[in-house]
Symmetry: C2
Subunit: 379 residues, 2 copies
């Protein structure tokens, strides 16, 4: 691997920024949407198609991969990029979030978390040091600090305890991080729904110094305005020359409103999960292909899409595939959604570069209202 | 649609024949393997990939499509080719076999079958006339007569009754068939495991005159030698200038032995179904990717395959995908298997053309024994 990890801001429009992250495995155009490849596969997609649709980077989950097939095994097989046939950048989370949401019999203390695999009950320990080691074994290009994420709403004392623990784990993660040229470690701002606590977390992380900063523990049940308020609180306190990553978000409208406030990176299962459940994201809003009104509709999902899947198959056929539970339905709708998300990010980047981001937001929101739904998905 | 349906035998090697079927939607190289696209999709495959792997034709099931989404709906949407985005030839079965194996509360009489949908219990009637109408609505290039297929073993009286009924339905099917230029109707030889009855059926169908002749009711539980014996009985009695289609068969070894006896066409769910269950067909025999011995194996399924899926992903990764129940595992293994089957048919055609079919059979069987299993799958 060669080169260094760096971030350049190419243009700004209000608080919105368009930029470029350079890693040893390739460049990432920002604002970036990162498709989720949980178990070393973006579900129902060939990796080369994910790339062709415009993704510069994918996310893989430390929790899932440490359980199956195992980080040491992936390292022995040449690393995650080779394993999943994706030679471009990979961001790995630290496992903390999924330990909380998926694992059984969790026991958390100052050192880390002991838990049982949700697959076979095997006992594991995850500490800041082990989370860093696993991400190094995987060959991550952007690693995340180990943190504790609480569900919202959450008592302030509980949020404070988790925030402070996450700060101590941030220091330990940084100390344990195996720095390689062109690779990065991001800190994660916690603090629940309390602005003051979020700011405290952001300032402490900024003092430690990370290659990028994430907002964690959002989009976990709180009202959307809380999420946007937390972004507004936090961003002034993290170094503006570093990439800002909003984890686990979101709907197209969430992306617009977060970019408007200065976010550079997103990941979310929404386009892929929705595709497996019969939902299509389009410029005219969201379509539910399960709906019987599509049964006789010969029109494609979007005749102007960059995605062949959106142009070449009728809504009637997609409706049929979804109703019949056919895998091709999941394949085509996942592709349609990832194409929509990546085209949307490209349009956002162009709008920022042209200084017309506000107009772009207005036009996108108007267009969503012409379709079946508002373009938002609450599930 | 233009042109006429025709079959040319280009070369023979013993009883094995290599030829070319011309339909209005394209040519079919024989011996041909027809991937099964039950519900208007070859499961887990993009149609353009099915074509790229070498398929000249796919099969679609009348029974499944009449139930969902409905033949009249498909016709209104422009026909099955447009519906499933497959502009090349399509063979449709007549529904008879699946009514027997899938439908609930069947009632069979001289006129046809009354049954309930296995999906929602709706009552349907299928007669020779309706089976022809449905295949016409779908826009089939090769339609099959309506027949009754019995499970083997079967009492001789029962096999005779079904065979005679199938012959009457053959006449009715032929009378009801909507002939279009470049499209064909095939008769189906029945008669259980009794050679004399099979010959009687074949002679009667040959007298009626069809565009091609199928052997039905085989590979339904009988020993493989019975199937091969039935082929040997029947083929001398059907016009040698017409294509001969062995329905629902089979393993690579079944294909070899049937081609050796003069069969020109096959369809089978085996490569696609096996792919969805973790099995890969290769020149070195069958691999079960579920097997733990693949967990650390960095080698591809077949580095010399024409399929990128067989060359570019490790056995370790495929094992992981299969164990994790990932859709990509089904996609890649289905592709690997269809590529193997189509390459195999191409090799068979070349071997026949070169007059070295027997040597090819010996070499293929020897190569299968070098792998994990014998290349045969009994499931």
């Amino acid at each position: 691997m060669t080169g260094i990890f760096r971030f350049e801001i190419l243009s700004q429009d209000g608080a919105a920024r368009a930029g470029l992250i350079t890693t040893s495995r390739g460049k990432i155009r920002t604002p970036a949407f990162i498709p989720v490849g949980t178990a070393a596969t973006v579900k129902a997609m060939h990796p080369e198609t994910v790339k062709a649709l415009g993704a510069d980077i994918v996310l893989a989950n430390t929790y899932h991969l440490m359980l199956r097939p195992g980080a040491e095994r992936i390292a022995m097989l040449g690393g995650l990029h080779s394993f999943m046939n994706w030679p471009w950048p990979i961001l790995t989370d630290s496992g903390g979030f999924q330990v909380m949401s998926l694992a059984k019999l969790r026991k958390l203390d100052e050192n880390g978390v002991t838990f049982q695999s949700h697959i076979d009950g095997t006992r594991y320990v995850l500490t800041p040091e082990r989370a860093m080691e696993i991400q190094d074994l995987l060959g991550s290009d952007i690693a995340m600090q180990f943190d504790e994420c609480v569900r919202l709403p959450c008592a302030e004392a509980e949020a404070r305890r988790a925030m402070n623990l996450s700060l101590r784990w941030a220091e330990q993660s940084k100390a344990a991080f195996v720095a390689k040229p062109g690779c990065a470690l991001f800190g994660i701002v916690q603090g629940g729904a309390a602005g003051a606590m979020r700011i405290e977390s952001a300032k402490a992380l900024a003092d430690m110094g990370f290659d990028g900063y994430a907002l964690g523990g959002l989009a976990v049940g709180e009202p959307r305005m809380v999420m946007l308020a937390m972004i507004e609180c936090v961003l002034p306190w993290i170094p503006c020359a570093k990439p800002r990553y909003l984890m686990g978000v979101g709907t197209p409208d969430d992306l617009l409103e977060s970019v408007r406030r200065g976010i550079d990176m997103f990941d979310c299962v929404l386009p892929t999960r929705a595709g497996r459940h019969g939902l299509a994201y389009t410029r005219s809003g969201r379509l539910n292909l399960r709906n019987a009104r599509h049964a006789d509709d010969p029109s494609p999902v979007d005749s102007l899409s960059s995605s062949a899947a959106a142009r070449n198959y009728s809504r009637a056929y997609l409706h049929h595939l979804v109703k019949a539970g056919e895998i091709l339905g999941m394949m085509l709708l996942t592709e349609i959604n990832l194409a929509y998300y990546q085209d949307f990010m490209q349009d956002i980047r162009r709008a920022i570069a042209a200084g017309r981001f506000t107009d772009f937001c207005d036009a996108a929101k108007t267009a969503w209202r012409t379709g079946e739904t508002s373009g938002k998905l609450d599930a």
